[in-house]
Symmetry: D2
């Protein structure tokens, strides 16, 4: 049993990590930290976990102890904070696996980080060793990795939808548009006017239009697949639901591929990916993936406009965050990729 800790366990992704790890067959949860709730029992704050982690209380984050007593530390902390914690942990225990759920190690270019996040990267020296933890694309680099940048929720949904197209050179790289719709847990557990129930319910809005920080992350990964720089329009929208992201991706079809031909490409591309489900017919819906680690992908080919319309669906807290972090841990430790992640979606 590997010993795991979760730093910043009071947000939605932290709590979801606690839930998933509490049921994982090869790990033991040794420590969950929270500055604000230190001393409180986890189940007092999260009653849905009663009977599952009854003994556990929040402790203040102490890098010394965490580095010594853990085999793997998950950082569910804000960007800017994570980089310092990762540096502190790796300096104390070079065998430790650190999986950062923030954006701090996702962009390989520290200048891009400074541009989009508004401050210099706190630890650019760590960037070269960070592996971008999208297992379907990076499985080879994850085994044995020590610092893993867990992808953003939107990038997971958009990059997985577009990757086979872009990698195969099957689209015009200037044609990509990603129109994404996310549930409110993606905005975190901190109450704000923008996530106050009556302001979200019975509505939908676009936000961060042309400026959302997940844009450079999507572009980095798709450019890497394409072999040349690629930019796109990415527009996130806030949905009045708790969990899930649906991304509708538009891309030119310059070679006139048929749906059948593209299905072959997608099935081949994801044949070894246990958490990607390609739809031969129909299109993904959030309810098909909610509560699971799947990314479902489907598409139509528009003969009139010569475009592909691709749709992907994930649970933003699982495949878009904590489930993917567990999947990354599994690969880093050489565990079976699906350990702890086998629950199907709950359906309705």
């Amino acid at each position: 049993m590997k010993k795991c800790s979760v730093v910043g366990a009071t947000g939605y992704t932290g709590t979801e990590l606690v839930r998933l790890l509490s049921d994982h067959p090869r790990v033991r949860l040794v420590s969950v930290t929270s500055r604000s709730l230190a001393g409180k029992r986890v189940t007092d704050v999260f009653p849905h976990l009663i009977s599952h982690i009854n003994g556990l209380s929040f402790v203040p984050p102490d890098m010394e102890t965490l580095a010594r007593e853990s085999d793997c530390v998950f950082l569910a902390t804000p960007h800017g904070v994570s980089a310092d914690l990762a540096a502190a942990l790796l300096a104390r225990n070079r065998d430790l696996v650190v999986i950062d759920l923030s954006a701090d190690f996702r962009l390989k270019d520290p200048d891009a980080y400074a541009h989009w996040y508004g401050h210099p990267h706190p630890h650019p020296e760590l960037l070269p060793q960070a592996v971008y933890g999208l297992p379907e694309l990076e499985a080879a680099h994850l085994k044995g990795a020590r610092l893993i940048a867990n992808p953003g929720c939107y990038p997971t949904s958009v990059v997985l939808a577009a990757a086979p197209l872009v990698k195969g050179g099957l689209t015009d790289p200037t044609s990509l548009i990603a129109d994404s719709k996310s549930g409110v847990t993606g905005a975190g557990r901190e109450p704000t006017m923008g996530t106050h129930f009556p302001e979200v319910n019975e509505s939908i809005k676009a936000y961060g239009v042309t400026k959302h920080r997940h844009t450079p992350e999507i572009e980095q990964e798709l450019s890497s697949l394409a072999g040349h720089p690629l930019i796109l329009n990415f527009t996130p929208h806030l949905l009045p639901i708790n969990r899930g992201i649906l991304s509708t991706v538009y891309a030119a079809n310059p070679k006139g591929l048929s749906k059948k031909e593209l299905l072959d490409v997608y099935h081949e591309f994801y044949k070894a990916a246990p958490f990607v489900r390609v739809y031969d017919s129909g299109l993904p819906e959030i309810r098909n993936v909610r509560g699971s680690n799947y990314c479902d992908i489907g598409f139509e080919v528009d003969a009139r406009t010569k475009r592909f319309v691709l749709v992907s669906a994930i649970d933003n807290l699982i495949k878009g965050a904590s489930g993917q972090a567990v999947q990354n841990m599994n690969l880093a430790f050489g565990f079976p990729e699906t350990d702890g992640l086998k629950a199907p979606g709950v359906g309705a």
Copy 2:
């Protein structure tokens, strides 16, 4: 045209007042105040009002100006604050009509106020002149009133449902139980953990059980109708919807009344009330009243258990707050009771 002002116009009830008054045929909105948003245009904060109150900006609350320039001031301010503002306004202009949407003037007994609100009443000397503004019960006292205590949303729904029973001596006064369910706008516009979208959505919870501050208000009004003290259980629940309260009220049927007999009682009791709709068959649902000033009431008589089961529905922001305040103003000024309040519900 009477000149109206709204103090504290940035919460849901304040905004709803602005919306209703902007469309009222006999009033002109002269001033809306907000400390935090002073200087901003109202439509910058509430875009749904663009084209309706385009010239209006928030101003800081100044009692001198408000008292001088208004015929009627609505206080959409927190309890504790309202009492001081009302005192300041009435001291400056004895012809002013002050309608307070807070709890400050609802309880006639200052000791009850101190007990349930945790501090002495700020202006007990004003209590004798305050009229409890439930027009269906107090119409006679509202004409010419200068200080009107606008009822709580839950009390409106519970008292109107039970009043004919209690007034007619048709139930056992110890038997009353009110189980109410409210939308989230009832909790105000301030973001909190308890009103954060993912904490409310797909759930329901009871809160303030045995201790909610609307309890003494309901008891005061029903006791007054009964002619003797009466206590009840009142349990509010938070629903994942924006607007509306449904109250299910249980009461003994010691005289064995039939549904037909009780319908006669209710139709008679509310024959002059333009905003109460008694259902001969079927039961009220929130969607029937949303967006309107109606209180819909229906019931079943349980021959097995010898109890009445009554159901009432209101829009908490209209009949439960701002619409009722406008209704009170209409009566205070001698306007037709329905002026500015004629919109039917929006249905689906």
Copy 3:
């Protein structure tokens, strides 16, 4: 007072027409028809209208009587049915105004109708006289019109968003993509598996991808504005809300216009349109228009990708259907355009 009738008054658009007309200062509702509910009081089926249309009962549709007793008949009937009814009505009363909320008279080309709707147009001889009732573009043709094709909900939201761009030749006509999100009332009042509460709630799905019947209607109107044929990708999505459509429209910016420049274009284009509100800053959200006849429009200009990202919001039952029908009637009769449509949105 003009006498109005609503045929097919039991769906959401029919009921909404009844609601709006019951409050209109220049019309009297003389007849509402329903085959299935003939004989029932309207308020037994739609309790939210109690006290507003108390005397009214559904009658079976009889073209003879409708044509004789009405000045204006609204057809809230399915496509295929509407064309026959319109023909029957206009044959009996050539002064009658017929406003059809179905798709039957929207496409000017009967071959396009046959292609997208799967059957020949029932009355192609009426097409030349039908006016496409998007008042912001067609006001000149609506005065005195006798047969008005009320636009689809999605086309209203997409065409109004893109019209100034397309009319001004400011975009590449092959670049348009409209990603729309609609509430469930847009799917009608007939229960189906796809609109069953648990199948919709907490999810979102794309549907009719590359094949939705509103596509040719959007293309017809934009082509007409452009002066040459134009095709686009239109993708509708089903949102777990009751009312509202948000359309996110992507279009190339070949001339490198700034946001300021485009704002000038939009303000000029819509300067005479009382129901279009162009946002100088911020972007429309459904909650800003719910319950009103407004179409709100805003946009950002992406300097990186050289694209416009436009967002429009409407209430699909009002500006997207019944409110627009009333607006068309106002223009046909020479009434003030905003009569009966002055209610602001309800906000939260």
Copy 4:
């Protein structure tokens, strides 16, 4: 591995059984039946189960085969139908365990069944051997049972909340009132006007008031615990959520028990029940149990009115139906009670 079959696998409880059984460590799912979908792959209808039951297709229900090839058959069929199927199965295989999720074997008195369900009981001869499958009360009778009547969702929530009170003689048996609120999956998967999205969303309604069929079931179980006949008011409400029941139960406190004393009673009563969680502080909410087999119970004691206010929460599809059915199967076969049911709730 025991072989299990699900008859009527296309409703929500049937699908949920398939989901739970697909992950159960001691059973193999051998057959899922559906008349309407026979021949279709289960995952074509329920994509959330792709990768979990890929080989499985619906077959027509054939009692001969089911009886021969199964160790346990779950009947997720309507009342009236289930009794015939159970009789046919048990006649063919006397070792078979039949777990009926309908109401057919819940009421021990066939006259009560005829009264509440409107037709004579189809197989009264089977009633004596049927065990009411509420494991927390009936564990002793479930081991080795061959015909198990799986309780209704509302009765599970109400009976578990009130059982310790009633069993201990701690309340006045005429004082009980249960006000329950349920998500829409409780109404089944068949589309109806009452479950059409816009008719449910943003609203709540009471239904079946004084007449709901779960009333006699609750009364039977509580009467049995009390040792004498007991009747109560039970009022169900329809909530705009997918899953979950919250029941608020009112009961007299004639002995003046304190909260502490009652907590001791509840903890003692449920000390051996792995799926009941009694709250020392706070009250249950649906979000704490959604996705799990728990029944959470909490309460307040009102010293003013001398009443208990109890609140229980369950996931209606799991503890209220399919999870409880699996729990019953575990007990019937002598498996650990929690097998296949260990998932914690999903939280937000």
